[in-house]
Every structure is written in structure tokens, then in C-alpha cells.
């Protein structure tokens, strides 16, 4: 037989597995799919390789046991419900928007093209902008997301210790993925950088996560972080004209309680976290001054005095 292209053989195998109601045995597939060597051993080797190739593309080949005259024997089949794309109901402009997102944001370690091809692909003209950013994807992201969806604990090594974590949320910030969750041994909330996780992650099927996920904290400013029983202090800060626009931009116009003739402003903030507040104020160096309350003003003064030689 003339050599049949591997692509043709794999497509025919796929067609055979999709087209059948009952699982087909290897022997049946040998007979039904063109392009395999006659020799049984050579067939088996090629067949196993093809199966691996297809599975690597995410093609769900099931193994089902079938009764034959020789007793039960394993057969292969692809069930339509496992294979066929669920219609996402995307309108044309929505598919284009997704394709554009994938063009602009490079996903490291992921074959993102396939996702768009499956949705029908998208064509761009040459004026479309090139890549503008990157996000590192990888098996850990998918695995941890599955644990979050299924409310399961996960186990992994981190900074040389084994952790058991009830996962809450994945966040990509400052160029890295972070997992936040409840660290069971420490009985406290913790955040983990995914690329610092040692080795593999195990989903613990026997340990449902019970700690409830706290509300999202993305909107909180550094000086607002704290636990519920921390005291909230109202602070007033004078800011020079040189930093007034920036402060208004960062803190919102509502924070401004007074404006001077020279363009300087005074702002008021609710402070929970003193370190976060100190960083805000010192970020403006001598363009800002804490006016009240006295204890926050004293905190800054002491902090600075310790740094004067």
C-alpha cells in the first residue's frame, strides 16, 4: 500500500471513533482505518502513538469494556457530548473581541490559537496593534481554579514546607499569579505566588474547603487593610500644590476637604493600617504633612527621627 499521510490516518481514526455507537476494539480499528501497517505489532505501536497525539490535543477518547465471544474486551470510542463544542452563543463581534484580546495579550505556556480557531477564527487587518502584554499560564492555574470551583483543599510545597490551603481566589498582579486562601495549619489567610510553589499541586478530594471566602479586597487602599477589630482613625494631611493633582487622582476628589489659594490641599482619610498610611505620606516626601490626629503625626516624626543620623 502506498504510504498514507499520518494526518490522513489520524483524521480517519478520529472519524471512525466519532462515527461509531459501540466502542471499537483495536482489531476492529486496524481493519476499518486505512493507513496502518499490516503487521500487528507495528500497527499497535502506530495506533498507540496516534491515540497519544489525539489525546494531547484534548480529544476525549474513552475506553469502554465490551462483551465479545472471547469475554470482555476494551474498546475505544469518542462520545459526541464529550467532543463537540458547546455553543457559547457568541455574536460575531464578541468572537472578534476575544480574538483581539488573545492577539494583544500573549499567554505564555498555552496554545491559545486553538481556542479562537474553535470559535471560527478571526481575521485582522495590518493596522491591528501588536502584542501589548503577557500573562504566564500553566497547569497550576487550571488546577487551582478547578479546586476553587469544586471547593476542595489543595496541598503543595511552598518555601520548603508542605501546605494545606483552602483556595479562594486567583489573581494576576504585578506580572505574577497569586493564590489567596485559608492556610489550614496556620489557621489564617495567606497569599502564595504560583511560580514559587514547589513541585506538584494535589487536590484533596476528601477535604472540602470550609473557610468562607472573604469579599474581594481589590479596591482597598494600603492604609485600609486590617482586621475587623482594628481601630479606624480619621487622619488629615496637608499636601503641597506640586502633588495636589496626583493626590486627587489617587485618593479621589471626595477626600479633599480644603483647598488653599496656592493650590495646596488638605485631605482626610480613614486609616486602619498605619504602615500603609505612612508609605502614602512619605511617598510625597516634604510635600506632605500629617496634621492630625496627634498620634499619627507623632508616629511619622518618630519614624523619621530614627532615620536621622
Amino acid at each position: 500500500m502506498a504510504t498514507i499521510d499520518k494526518l490522513e490516518r489520524q483524521m480517519s481514526l478520529l472519524a471512525a471513533l466519532l462515527h461509531t455507537e459501540v466502542a471499537l476494539t483495536a482489531t476492529e480499528l486496524h481493519r476499518r482505518v486505512e493507513g496502518y501497517p499490516e503487521d500487528k505489532v507495528a500497527f499497535r505501536r502506530a495506533f498507540e502513538r496516534d491515540k497519544d497525539d489525539l489525546r494531547r490535543l484534548g480529544i476525549p477518547i474513552s475506553i469502554e469494556s465490551r462483551e465479545t465471544v472471547d469475554g470482555p474486551i476494551d474498546g475505544y470510542v469518542i462520545r459526541e457530548t464529550d467532543y463537540y463544542l458547546h455553543d457559547l452563543g457568541l455574536d460575531a463581534d464578541e468572537t472578534v473581541a476575544l480574538a483581539m484580546a488573545l492577539r494583544l495579550i500573549r499567554l505564555e505556556g498555552a496554545e491559545a490559537d486553538d481556542a479562537i480557531w474553535k470559535l471560527g477564527g478571526a481575521a485582522f487587518d495590518d493596522t491591528a496593534p501588536a502584542e501589548i502584554g503577557a500573562i504566564a499560564m500553566g497547569p497550576a492555574v487550571t488546577q487551582l481554579h478547578q479546586a476553587i470551583q469544586r471547593s476542595l483543599s489543595v496541598q503543595f510545597g511552598y518555601r520548603g514546607e508542605d501546605r494545606i490551603v483552602e483556595p479562594w481566589r486567583l489573581a494576576f498582579r504585578r506580572g505574577h499569579w497569586y493564590l489567596s486562601g485559608h492556610d489550614v495549619a496556620r489557621d489564617d489567610a495567606r497569599s502564595f505566588r504560583l511560580d514559587r510553589i514547589d513541585g506538584s499541586i494535589t487536590l484533596d478530594l476528601d477535604r472540602p474547603a470550609t473557610a468562607s471566602r472573604p469579599p474581594i479586597s481589590a479596591e482597598r487602599q494600603p492604609w485600609e487593610f486590617g482586621s475587623d477589630d482594628d481601630e479606624t482613625i480619621r487622619a488629615r494631611v496637608a499636601i503641597d500644590a506640586s502633588h495636589a493633582d496626583w493626590a486627587r487622582h489617587q485618593l479621589g476628589a471626595d477626600a479633599v476637604v480644603a483647598t488653599g489659594d496656592d493650590g495646596s490641599i488638605e485631605i482626610e482619610l480613614d486609616v486602619v493600617n498605619i504602615v500603609g498610611f505612612r508609605n502614602l505620606v512619605l511617598g510625597m516626601l516634604d510635600a506632605a504633612e500629617v496634621l492630625s490626629p496627634p498620634e499619627l503625626r507623632a508616629d511619622i516624626v518618630t519614624w523619621l527621627q530614627d532615620q536621622v543620623a
Binding site: D5, L7, E8, Q10, M11, A16, L18, H19, R32, E34, R56, L57, Y83, Y84, L85, H86, L90, D93, E94, A97, L98, A101, L102, L104, I105, L107, A110, D113, A115, W117, K118, G120, G121, P129, G133, M137, V141, T142, H145, Q146, I148, Q149, L170, A171, F172, R173, R174, I216, S242, D245, W246, N279, G283, D286, R297, V301, L304, Q305, Q307, A309
Partner: protein
Amino acid sequence: MSRLTATDRLRRLLAVIPWVSGRGEVPLDEIVERFDYPIDRLRRDLTEVVQFVGVYPHTPDMLIEVYLDEENERVRFELADYFTSPLRLSPEEALSLVSAGLGLLGSSVGQNSALERALNKVADRFDVELGDDIEVSLGGASAVTVEQAMTAAREHRCIEIEYHSLHRSTGTRRVVEPHNVFSQNGEWYLRGYCRLAEADRTFRLDRVLALEETGETFEGDAQGTTAVFAPDDDDLRVTLELSPDAAWVAEAFPVESVKETKRAITVTLAVSSTVWLERLLLQLGPSARLKDSTPVLPDSLRSDAAARVLARYQSS
């Protein structure tokens, strides 16, 4: 384009066949563009491979029929029943779509844009709670600013920005010819020719307080290559010794080297002004020590800065 492997072609064909089947007759050019399929390879694969794919008993009625028109420019399929739908999206692919989409959408949630609608549909199908179990931030700048800067760069329009430079501790207005917009280390940047500095400059978009088009356009290749933010060689380089509670510095800034021991973390980073360094040192206090710098900075840098700020408290 490099040669496609059998797997590369299979990945494409499993998407191309259903797409064409659902549409009747399709120009080959459109397949080439949508699926990144080189035309010669596509023609050969259609006539030499797909044509012969079929199921037992391989009689002509069980094969996929490929009809190319006379000019070899349009194609339609028949009897490709088992390939009428593409392969479902894997959870990895769904998360990839969601991550890229959320990164681009940024803070412009609630605008009912095509991207946002698409993300909601993907998220629904895959049981992803957007923003709740996954969130992506490519930078702190508002999505409106990012979008405006990108549009201006694409269309070669000059912009005037009000920029708060933390390095210089002042705000300035300047006209910029924007070349490109990119995200790096979790911040959005604009790279362009600054008419105030009369040189190319990189601006952090979250420090752009106002941005408007001047009405002018500029010549040149706006697209350029994607500028990667790289410190200039003549930037100041400092080595800081950090105690473990200040380890975040190594993650927050693009450091050039990190050495970690049990008791301290030593980082080297490029800084573009001493003001920036003063601020960092005063914020970190006892958690950071300036170990070394090139060129050499006075030992009293931190102390002088602290004294300057203190003076303000003592005079009032």
C-alpha cells in the same frame, strides 16, 4: 511561516472543516487568514488528505467530499457529518480566554462591551466567577486612559498629557508622539517621543492625570516593535539589603538581581532618580539598608532626606 507539522495541520483542519460546513462555500483566502493556514499547504491538504478521509467501508459515499471551484479559490464540503462541530474548549483554553480578556478589559467593567459580553458567556459555560474566583490586573491605569493612548498610537495622533513624575516629584504637561502602549510587571506604560524632553520617553499610565489629543498627527512607524521597558545603562544602580518583611520590594520593582539568605534579601535595581530612592528608603525605614550604589551616593542620603521632611513638622 515555518513548516506546519501534521499536528499543526490537524489542529487547524478540525476547526476549518466545521467552520466551512456551517457556511456552504467559502473563499480559501478567508481560511488562510482566519486559521493562519498557508495557502499552498491548505490546497494540498484539501485535495490530497481531507478528500480521502472517511469511515468504513470507505465507499465513495462514506468519504468527505471536497469541492473546489474551477479557479481553485473557493471550497465546500459534503458528508463531513462527524466533523460538523469543532472540538470543545478545554478548561485551560477557557481560562486562557478569560485571563486575556480580563487583562484587557481592566477597569472598564460594566460598559457592556463586546469583550465583556463574550467573557460573561465563556464564564457562564465554564462556571467561572469573573472577578470573584479569578481576577487579572495588567496595570493600575484606568481602562479609558489605556484605550485612549492605544488609539492615539495606532492613529499617529499627538497627545498632551499631564504627568506626575514620581522621580522628579512634580507634575508636568507635555506633548507626546505615542509609539506604543504595553504592560510590564503589572503596570501600563506608554512609550513615545516626548517633545518636552526632545527624546523618547516611557510614561507610566497610572501617573497620567489627564490625556487629550492635540489634533496634530505625526509621521513615523507608530507600530514599531514592542518596546520592552529596560533601564538605561546610565541609570543609577543601587544595592539594598532588605529584611524579610520588606521582601515585597523584590517583587514590586524590576530588580536586576536577588540574593536571598535566611536573614536578609539583597537586591540590585536600576533607579532613575535619587528622589525615588529617598522615598523608598524613608518608607522602608529599618527594613532596608543602602549597601552600595553606582555612581556612589553620599552616606547621608537617607539622613538628609529624613531631616528635610522633619523640618516641615518642626516649623509648624
